[in-house]
């Protein structure tokens, strides 16, 4: 059913981690055990750094989406993921905190299947229709795969985000449909590391080729749109060419099938339908009808029509992230993902326990990098103490909250440390001076050798600071990453 109230996508953005794993390298290394990987040995897939997960990727995609928007206009937030790090701790609450969203904005974790992203988006549309303010929908997945499996090559890591609100925005919602059928093509029990996969041919013939046409047929009938009028068909294709086969079954021309983003990314699970949608919006023309399908125990289908309103340019797309890359060798990937246990030495045994009381007291600092600006002298500083740091001021209790999360920074001092324990040595860190004043000695992220020196422009990124293997807790904080050359 078309919504009673006109709703649409107001803004979009994405995030793909910069590390890339060569599928040919994996296939070659594992040819001894699984020569069947060879046909998949094309291009690269994306890989999270050791300090990235569904939460941190969601934050980055949301930041790209929100850009200069007033974040106070977001009244609700959905996070779709099958790899949200916490089973019981609101994962979306961490994202909301990092984004500095209003505390009275509800946050929902949506999970449980590959359609978690599209289901989150459906919920966001429904919520937007009933609300005055905007709704944020983010999907992110960092799925894992056992070594030498097809999944190891098919999967990628990424996130996509959309702001949904009243009015047509950049793409108007024409309708959506869902189908819930307990078709188990693969599953991952709650206590298991990896997926268990059934035969691909059955998944294709009984699953994709029967369920998706039925689902899409319902939606097209509902909205009175003909299959031939679909300009972009966004269906993740974890089985090679299944997107094309489904399109043919529905009556959508081959050239209307969207790029599955296999090159440079790979199938990002619950995030992937939304990632493909964001990619389609990059180049969509006014009037283009975009059909997005999330497949999983049935599926969700969403039909949108691009309005031609500007999408936010390159910053709001996927391509800029695909263009930004750094190689990750297969052995390094295996170690970063925990698939191979490296000896980390006694230093790695240091207790990484977190005091939840202290973390709560400092939550605005830890989550949204909030320091202070002195009401008396105007000096910016972080962390926010009780007495102003300016030597000519020292005003007591005069610091008003000021977030540095979106501030421009420059390296004042740095080193690359090979002594301290880090999962991905060396550990780069240094003092970052902020444009408005203030500085912080902080960890760096995403640094290639030779990429930082005094004066290098840096941006803030929300990352895992430490993993606590004893208690299964990850603590998050902000790091400084070199601003990509084209953004400097």
């Amino acid at each position: 059913m078309p919504s009673a109230v006109d709703v649409g996508i107001a803004a979009c953005g994405a995030y793909v981690p910069r590390l890339r794993l060569s599928r040919a390298e994996v296939a070659s290394a594992q040819a001894w055990v699984n020569p069947g990987l060879r046909p998949l040995a094309r291009a690269e897939r994306s890989v999270c750094g050791w300090d990235e997960d569904a939460i941190t990727m969601a934050v980055e995609a949301a930041r790209a989406t929100l850009a200069d928007r007033d974040r106070a206009t977001i009244g609700r937030a959905y996070l779709g993921s099958t790899t949200a790090p916490y089973a019981d701790r609101l994962n979306g609450g961490v994202v909301s905190g990092a984004l500095g969203l209003r505390e009275d904005a509800a946050a929902f974790d949506v999970g449980g299947s590959m359609r978690a992203g599209t289901s989150a988006l459906l919920a966001a549309f429904d919520a937007a229709a009933a609300r005055e303010d905007d709704v944020l929908c983010v999907a992110a997945d960092r799925r894992r795969a056992a070594a030498a499996t097809q999944q190891e090559l098919v999967i990628g890591h990424a996130a996509a985000a959309l702001v949904v609100g009243r009015g047509p925005g950049i793409a108007r919602l024409l309708g959506h449909a869902s189908l819930t059928v307990d078709f188990v093509d693969h599953f991952r029990a709650a206590d298991r590391e990896f997926d268990y996969q059934w035969e691909e041919r059955w998944v294709r013939d009984e699953g994709y080729l029967k369920l998706v046409p039925r689902l899409v047929g319902d939606l097209l009938a509902q909205t009175g749109v003909a299959a031939r009028d679909i300009a972009r068909f966004c269906l993740p294709s974890p089985i090679r060419r299944v997107d094309q086969q489904v399109a043919r079954a529905i009556g959508i021309a081959a050239e209307r099938v969207s790029d599955p983003l296999s090159d440079g990314c790979g199938d990002s699970g619950a995030a992937h339908p939304l990632l493909m949608l964001v990619h389609a919006l990059e180049s969509a023309r006014a009037g283009d009808k975009i059909l997005v399908v999330g497949f999983g125990q049935g599926g969700d289908a969403i039909l949108l029509e691009a309005t031609g309103a500007p999408t936010g340019g390159a910053a709001a797309g996927v391509t800029r992230w695909l263009d930004r890359r750094a190689s990750c060798s297969y052995p390094r990937y295996l170690a970063l993902d925990g698939l191979v246990k490296l000896d980390r030495g006694i230093r790695a045994e240091a207790d990484k326990g977190s005091a939840l009381t202290a973390a709560y007291r400092h939550r605005d600092f830890l989550l949204s990098l909030t320091g202070g600006r002195c009401d008396a002298c105007g000096t910016h500083q972080i962390p926010r103490g009780d007495i102003c740091v300016d030597p000519d001021c020292h005003a007591v209790g005069a610091l008003a909250p000021h977030s540095f999360a979106e501030s421009a920074g420059r390296v004042a001092t740095w080193s690359a440390d090979r002594l301290t324990f880090t999962p991905d040595p060396p550990a780069y860190y240094g003092t970052v001076d902020f444009a408005e004043g203030g500085r912080l000695l902080m960890d760096f992220a995403d640094v290639d050798e030779g990429a930082v020196d005094v004066g290098t422009p840096m941006r803030m990124v929300f990352r895992i600071k430490d993993r606590d293997p004893v208690r299964g807790f990850a603590r998050y904080f902000w790091k400084a990453a070199p601003v990509a050359a084209e953004e400097a």
């Binding site: 202290a358 004042a412 003092t431 960890d443």
Partner: protein, 401 residues
């Protein structure tokens, strides 16, 4: 301004354990070694000590908290004993407390003893430990070499020094200290090294290589102090007295305010200015005979030479390469081998530096004895990190009269 400490307190005796990987010894045995030598040198009985200060920093890997471990190890006579901790300045803090106690009249004879047992961790470098419950949540994933290496990046940028030139000057510092340490029977590392070995050593934290870092070792050192009057009454001549005792502590400015450029130690500059005033030194480059500075890393020594006002700003590279600070140079620096060769048992280091000045001033430094008679000697400790630290400076000299 306060009148200061100059010439009010003298050293009655000093001792220093052999430093090194003392697999044979607990911290307590190191204390007994240092104390035994100091007590014999002072010519006193333990019962004559009125008060004692004990410095140790990393008590988690050593003796635990409080002063009880030292009072027990030395069987002190139920006198006042306090433990002090101020990072790498801890040893100097014990000395400062003992000197102040004598100057105040609270004690006639006071003991300062520092010891540290670092080599019970199973790995090289300083023990890995919590930095505090709140700090652990946000501090960068630092090691000490990584923190001090930050200086090099800022120093290169500020003074436009090519990386290779700075690296060579840093290497000269380490080669020089190893030359000196080779002559010291109490040093941990007693092997000479070459420039090439330093320059080609594996990187610990860019640009610091293995030989840019001081050793990590176990050790203890002690000082027994009293008034000049008591010392003379006990027949002592040629007294070595305390000329200045200064401390400066960061208040967050370097860490949070962009007015500091990261290439020097603000605290050292504050402490040095006050120490020279207290000691009556107008021109440190001319008046200081020898110095023992906190060479935890070669880059620390290099920038400290400027912060102490001995080399001009940006001039340390040239002075170092000219041999100004070599054992036969104008102002020998680390004539005993420094932290570089002694290693850095944190609570002991400040007192170990004072021990060398005392030996040189009493002409008991053996093969290392300076040709010229030393007039003023300076020790310097720097604890923490360039952006947040504790700096202590002590100046010793011949007692007037």
């Amino acid at each position: 301004m306060a009148t200061g400490i100059r010439d009010r307190v003298v050293i009655l005796g000093m001792g220093c354990s052999r430093f090194g990987e003392r697999w044979d010894a607990d911290a307590e045995r190191l204390m007994v070694e240092a104390f035994g030598e100091a007590r014999a040198d002072a010519g006193i009985d333990a019962s004559e000590i009125d008060g004692a200060w004990f410095s140790t920093s990393q008590e988690e890997t050593s003796v635990g908290k409080s002063s009880v471990p030292m009072a027990t190890a030395l069987r002190l006579g139920y006198i006042p004993v306090s433990r002090v901790e101020n990072q790498c300045a801890s040893g100097t803090e014990a000395f400062r407390a003992a000197v102040y106690a004598v100057a105040s009249g609270a004690c006639d004879i006071a003991l300062a003893l520092g010891s540290e047992k670092l080599k019970d961790t199973g790995y090289g470098g300083l023990p890995q430990r919590t930095r505090g419950r709140v700090n652990d949540l946000y501090w960068a994933n630092v090691s000490t070499p990584g923190l001090f290496a930050q200086l090099a990046a800022a120093y290169r940028a500020k003074h436009r020094v090519p990386a290779a030139d700075l690296k060579r000057a840093m290497a000269h510092i380490s080669v020089k200290s190893h030359d000196n340490g080779a002559l010291n029977p109490k040093a941990h590392l007693r092997r000479r090294i070459t420039m090439d070995a330093v320059l080609e050593a594996p990187i610990v934290a860019e640009p610091l290589g293995l030989y840019d870092c001081c050793g990590v070792s176990d050790g203890a050192a002690a000082a027994i102090v009293t008034t000049p009057e008591i010392a003379r009454a006990r027949g002592r001549r040629d007294l070595v007295s305390v000329k200045a005792l200064q401390l400066s502590v960061s208040n967050g400015l370097e860490a949070q305010h962009q007015s500091w450029d990261g290439s020097y130690f603000m605290t050292t500059r504050h402490a040095a200015r006050r120490a020279y005033a207290e000691a009556g030194i107008a021109n440190p480059r001319e008046q200081l005979s020898l110095i023992e500075v906190h060479d935890c890393f070669s880059i620390t020594e290099l920038v400290t030479l400027e912060d102490l006002g001995i080399s001009p700003e940006g001039g340390a590279v040239a002075d170092v390469l000219d041999g100004f600070y070599d054992a036969d140079g104008t102002v020998p620096c680390q004539i005993d081998g420094g932290l570089k060769c002694f290693g850095h048992p944190i609570g002991a280091s400040g007192l170990r530096m004072l021990y060398e000045l005392y030996l040189q001033m009493t002409e008991r430094a053996g093969e290392r004895q300076m040709a010229r008679e030393p007039r003023f000697g300076l020790t310097h400790n720097l604890g923490g990190a360039p952006h947040a630290n504790v700096c202590s400076i002590t100046i010793l000299g011949r007692q007037a009269g």
